[in-house]
């Protein structure tokens, strides 16, 4: 394994000159911009890797620039859940952040499969001007457990791969990278001088005058016993009833994505020595639900799970759930959470007469990655022209669902997204038009069915069907 790694490192190293050569020979984008100062803080404390990047950008070209590019190696792009950028406006005390739009783009001369994201500036950066941009990007599934299998008493060690030098299409004058690990227990890390280690922090740099597309792979091997809770598939169904209720049903397929559990699971050890038996396992999760939750339930396909607590106050609701058994590495579990919400808190009427549902996207479980999230918004029967507004790209399509005594079926707006992290918990809207008369359809239908039933019975009593008189 280690041998393989080193081979990979050597390969990458040997590619470096090539990369920089390629970059230098072409790229018109890189010549206009240079990064004066870059600081990168990588947070490795949970299984979701958060990277905060502060770039001080200067336009040294001859024309204003409106797009700044971020580069990512192909291995990271697959695990990239979210990229956010904001421009810093104002000085010191009056500092504020202006969110910027970030989109994946292709550049014609991307060396070695490098992928780019472009940050569109609100005002083009004129010649000679500098700007500070804060970038947050989140990586999932980027901590690779090693050893791959551990026993109950061992703690979990993981690898993190990255580059000591920030991959960028621009020249970087000066840069530093900080890595924050959850504990001081650090097995090993690649040294790219100058490298410093202090407590839980690892500092790479400062490096100066790095050419575009420089890359210097590093591996950090450290202990991380945080719950690697991954929801492999989450289906959230939001059913709107204009009688005043919003019913949410969430189907979870939960997995512990850390180092696989090996061999014996001893309950006696797990119960008597919780501090060092099964430290990487987790037995409860917290779901943050909207305020006003009522009739919550927690069950799986074989019945109710009794180990859950719901705490509600007027501002938030927290549902603490315990799966039927503690989850060790590689163990899976499925369950369903359901609850009702008051409709008036989530359904509004827009100025143009349409109604819209304002609900939060993402997985309610804290510190959890959802590999695949499907949100189904079930609109009431008879609603028309559905459209969804989501702050980030999702796949959308429509379905039809038949529920209690439906005849034409209810329109379902389906939103699908892969690789969802807690930062995706932002509101989205679904607009539709609905005529209040449809609310009466089902009661009227039932009433008329019973009416006809009685009428038939009365008619039957008055008809003599016998042949003989």
């Amino acid at each position: 394994m280690e041998a393989q790694l080193s081979v990979r490192a050597i390969l990458l190293l040997s590619l470096l000159p090539l990369l920089s050569l390629l970059a230098r020979s072409s790229s018109s984008v890189s010549q206009d911009i240079q990064i004066v100062n870059a600081e990168r803080r990588i947070d490795l404390t949970s299984h979701i890797v958060k990277v905060f990047l502060t770039l001080k950008v200067e336009n040294i070209g001859s024309s204003p620039v409106s797009d700044i590019y971020l580069a990512f190696p192909p291995t990271q792009v697959d695990h990239l859940a979210l990229v956010k950028a904001a421009a810093t406006v104002g000085k010191r005390k009056k500092k504020s952040y202006l969110p910027l739009e970030v989109n994946p783009t292709e550049l014609p001369d991307a060396p070695n499969g490098t992928k780019y994201f472009s940050i569109s500036l609100v005002n083009p950066l004129s010649v000679g001007e500098t700007l500070t941009i804060e970038v947050l990007y989140i990586l999932t599934h980027s901590l690779e457990p090693f050893p791959v299998e551990i026993s109950q008493s061992e703690s979990q060690l993981v690898y993190y791969h990255d580059s000591a030098i920030i991959l960028s299409p621009y020249d970087i004058k000066k840069q530093t990278t900080f890595l924050k690990t959850p504990s001081t227990k650090l097995e090993s890390f690649t040294k790219v001088e100058p490298t410093n280690r202090a407590g839980t922090e690892l500092k790479y740099g400062p490096y100066e005058n790095q050419s575009p597309h420089s890359f210097s792979p590093i591996i950090v091997h450290f202990e991380n016993n945080n719950p690697f809770a991954v929801v492999e598939e989450l289906v959230r169904e939001v059913e709107i009833s204009h009688w005043g209720n919003l019913q949410i049903t969430e189907h979870y397929k939960l997995m512990h994505a850390g180092a696989r559990h090996k061999g014996v699971f001893s309950r006696v050890e797990y119960q008597s020595k919780p501090s060092f038996s099964g430290v990487s396992s987790f037995k409860n999760l917290l779901a943050r639900l909207p305020p006003g939750v009522h009739s919550a339930y927690y069950r799986d396909e074989i019945g109710n799970i009794s180990s859950s607590h719901l705490r509600t106050d007027p501002w938030k609701s927290e549902l603490e759930i315990e799966p039927r058994y503690p989850l060790f590495g590689g163990w899976k579990s499925t369950f369903i959470i359901g609850y009702g919400l008051p409709l008036q808190d989530f359904l509004f009427e827009s100025p143009d007469g349409r109604r819209y549902l304002n609900f939060s996207f993402g997985c309610p479980l804290v510190e959890t990655v959802a590999d695949k999230l499907t949100i189904k918004v079930v609109l009431p029967e008879g609603s028309k022209d559905p459209s969804a507004v989501v702050p980030f790209p999702v796949e959308q399509h429509l379905e039809t669902k038949y529920s209690y005594l439906d005849i034409v079926g209810r329109t379902v707006v389906v939103l699908e997204k892969r690789n969802v992290v807690p930062e995706h918990n932002s509101p989205f809207q679904v607009y539709y038009t609905f005529n209040q008369v449809f609310m009466l359809a089902e009661p009227l239908m039932l009433a008329s069915v019973f009416f006809f039933l009685f009428v038939t019975y009365v008619a039957y009593l008055h008809i003599d069907l016998s042949i003989r008189k």
Partner: protein
């Protein structure tokens, strides 16, 4: 003018009575349904116990794959490696009923899950059963007795125990089918209508579909027919009630795959054919008697008797030969143990090991039918005054069912409806007598019974007075409102019949005695209601897969079974085989979706004995047995930590017995010290070394340091030991289920090779070192 007014009044009163009884019946249905919901309210909407899980799984299959796949379903998840043909070995009635309900609901776009439908099937059919009881008793003794019997049946504890919400078992629908079949039989007997006879055969078909207890019908009805013939009550109505039932019923019954040709081949059904022959002979005799003169008739009789004897002898000889050719004399084991209560414990330990096949104790009668036990004799007496075809049938029904309930606890269920009918008749008759006595002695009505028209109004007043009085009394007794209504209304309904019989003026009891007697009867009824509600709420509503206990710091929930099943279903391979004692077979296939070796359908004794032998063998021998069966996980239920008494250690002697029945090297005395079953330091070495002991108590000593077993109330005999061929892979939170994995074969061979062949060992060791080099983390 006056006459027409009177008749109008009577018609109105009848109409009023009918509407009233309709609403009473509706309320009885609601009562029957809702009294069974305690389990859902106190626990959750979940399938109970063991067999219902199998039925639930079959229903799931049916709703998913359709009826034809269901008939042809070969289940490879159970009885590995034999499998089981489900379509041909289950009584499909329950499954098809629930499947149909599900289908209807879903085609109306009411998205209830299969589980919900299954959970509520039993309460729904209990309501149907109480309505069927009303119909049956009404045919026997009139509407008043019918309503009383229906309300008694709606809450008889014996029936509640089998039909609480979630108890999704055959009996749930079968009791309805049983009562309804009897009702149709009596209805045919009373009317002589071929229409009802056909319906009767169809109801019988439904019963055959639903439950093996259908043999009770096909033996009870012939017995009744025979009784009628013997007592000279033969009539063409009897013929119509019986002959079509046998012909159509047998044809229909043989359509059910699980019965098939058994409907004509096994001894359980021979009685009906014999009576079928007899009734034809009798019918012929009556016919000939009608068309011949008495002299000619005598000649004919001698002729027929001589020929008939010969034919009979031949038929009987053939039958005897057929019966004698089968080892069990054509009887199934369960039927035989019915006829000879000691049969099962002597020959078939597997039948004897099931607690519901044991004979009941006296307290269980009181628990299950409560005050009905005292009312039944009165009901029997009431049936004899006067004795009709119908009432003789219910008398016969109760007599036979008392016997059967005395043999098996389970058949208490057949006895309960009979007891309800009888008690209904008794209560109704006694109320009848007492209220009549009171009425005759009330000052307002005394002496002028002739003036009908005038009396109607005054009677109305009297009735109201009476109602008010009983009302007050009942309020004083703090009775439930529904019951109060029922009582009040029942008296209204009975008014016409009372009036019709008024001229008899028989059995007038003293006024005060009557009032006290009525009060006492109401008290008795109240006691019954209180007991039934208690039984429904406390005794019979626990789902048994989730246990609860109350302690000083609140409610504790023991959900270990589902924890284990859930773990198995998510963290093992789909094809892994799980071995456990057969009790948990159905649950493992249904909840964990894993293949099991044996399950609650105990059709193959040898297979069960193999598992029993493995559990009672030492570790190595057990490993070999399990390995030969391709088993990967072994599941044991252990109650020693929390004090759950029905665990595997307590069932262990049955494993030894059943195992020893097939494999003689397992001997029961080896596990007993001086005839006593013990697991403490006095236990025998065989016991302390058997697999069940080891798997149950592995590392148990580390919990409290003493290894104190809370079920057996003793410290265990052997505390520190290691497992060599099994490894613990999962133990639930309260240790109630422990799952072990068979260690792979690799280790064992390596050890053997090392010992036996010195040359080969060098190659293996190099191989081992290579693997070590390749993966240092292992």
């Amino acid at each position: 003018m006056a006459a027409s007014e009177t008749s109008n009044g009577t018609a109105l009163r009848y109409a009023f009575g009918n509407v009233l009884s309709f609403f009473i019946l509706l309320l009885i249905g609601v009562l029957a349904f809702s009294i069974r919901l305690f389990s859902v309210i106190k626990y959750e909407s979940v399938i109970h116990e063991f067999d219902p899980y199998f039925n639930y799984r079959v229903t799931q299959y049916l709703t998913k794959n359709g009826i034809y796949d269901f008939w042809n379903w070969f289940d490879d998840r159970t009885w590995y490696p034999l499998g089981r043909v489900i379509g041909g070995t289950v009584y499909p009635g329950l499954t098809l009923t629930a499947g149909t309900l599900y289908w209807i609901l879903n085609s109306l776009n009411i998205p209830l899950s299969v589980e919900t439908v299954c959970v509520f099937t039993a309460p729904i059919f209990s309501a149907f059963a109480s309505w069927a009881t009303y119909l049956l008793t009404k045919e026997v003794k009139g509407a008043g007795a019918g309503l009383t019997a229906a309300v008694l049946l709606a809450m008889v504890p014996s029936y509640i125990s089998r039909s609480v919400a979630g108890s999704y078992d055959n009996e749930a629908v079968a009791i309805f089918a049983l009562i309804f079949t009897f009702f149709l039989y009596i209805k045919t007997l009373n009317t002589g209508s071929l229409f009802y006879a056909t319906l009767n055969a169809i109801a019988y078909f439904y019963m055959v579909c639903s439950w093996g207890g259908y043999t009770f019908i096909i033996n009870l009805i012939p017995m009744h027919v025979l009784l009628c013939i013997v007592t000279g009550r033969y009539s063409s109505r009897l013929y119509i009630a019986y002959a079509p039932l046998v012909v159509l019923g047998t044809l229909l019954a043989s359509l059910v795959p699980v019965v098939g040709f058994n409907a004509v081949l096994t001894s359980e059904h021979f009685g009906s054919f014999l009576v079928f022959i007899i009734i034809h002979v009798v019918a012929l005799v009556y016919y000939i008697k009608g068309i011949l003169s008495p002299k000619m008739f005598k000649v004919a009789v001698t002729l027929v008797v001589s020929i008939g004897l010969v034919v009979c002898c031949a038929v009987i000889a053939v039958l005897v030969a057929l019966v004698a050719s089968s080892p069990t004399k054509g009887w199934s084991g369960r039927s035989l143990s019915l006829l000879d209560p000691t049969y099962a414990s002597k020959y078939i330990p597997i039948i004897a090991s099931v607690s519901e096949h044991q004979p009941p104790t006296w307290p269980s009668y009181f628990m299950d039918i409560n005050v009905l036990a005292f009312l039944v004799p009165a009901g029997i007496i009431a049936c004899f005054s006067p004795l009709s075809d119908a009432s003789s049938f219910v008398v016969l029904y109760i007599v036979t069912s008392v016997y059967f309930s005395g043999v098996m606890v389970r058949l208490m269920l057949v006895f309960a409806p009979a007891a309800c009918i009888m008690s209904g008749i008794a209560l109704s008759a006694s109320f009848d007598v007492f209220t009549r006595s009171i009425k005759f002695q009330l000052p307002g009505v005394k002496g002028n019974s002739q003036v009908d028209a005038g009396e109607t109004s005054s009677e109305g007043v009297v009735a109201q007075n009476e109602v008010a009085k009983t009302d007050k009394n009942e309020e004083a007794l703090k009775e439930r409102p529904s019951k109060k209504n029922r009582k009040k209304e029942k008296e209204h309904v009975e008014k016409p019949s009372v009036k019709a019989q008024m001229k008899k003026r028989l059995l007038v009891l003293p006024f005060e005695a009557s009032i006290i007697a009525i009060l006492l009867l109401i008290l008795l009824g109240a006691f019954y209601v209180v007991h039934s509600v208690w039984a429904a709420a406390e005794a019979y509503s626990a789902p048994s897969i989730v246990l609860t206990s109350y302690s000083h710091d609140g409610l504790h929930v023991f959900d270990d079974f589902r924890e284990a099943y859930s773990w198995l279903s998510h963290n093992t391979e789909v094809d892994d085989k799980v071995a456990s004692w057969w009790d948990y077979g159905y649950q493992t296939t249904a909840m964990a979706n894993r293949t099991v070796i044996v399950d609650n359908n105990t059709w193959n004794n040898t297979h069960i004995a193999t598992v029993g032998t493995a559990m009672s063998s030492p570790e190595k021998a057990a490993w070999e047995i399990f390995d030969s069966l391709d088993v990967k996980y072994v599941l044991v239920v252990f109650g020693g930590l929390v004090g759950y008494p029905s665990d595997d250690i307590n069932k262990f002697l049955w494993m030894v017995r059943i195992g020893g029945g097939v494999f003689p090297h397992i001997k029961e005395p080896d596990y007993l010290r001086d005839g006593q079953y013990r697991i403490d330091s006095q236990a025998t070495p065989t016991m302390l070394n058997c697999l069940m002991y080891k798997l149950s108590y592995y590392r148990f000593v580390e919990t409290d340091g003493k290894a104190f077993d809370r079920v057996r109330r003793t410290e265990i005999g052997k505390k520190h030991f290691k497992l060599t061929h099994f490894e613990e892979v999962f133990t639930t939170h309260h240790w109630m289920v422990r799952i072990y994995k068979l260690k792979p074969q690799k280790n064992r061979i390596r050890g053997k090779a090392k010992k036996s062949r010195s040359k080969a060992s060098s190659t293996t060791s190099t191989k081992r070192s290579e693997t070590q080099r390749k993966n240092p983390w292992h």
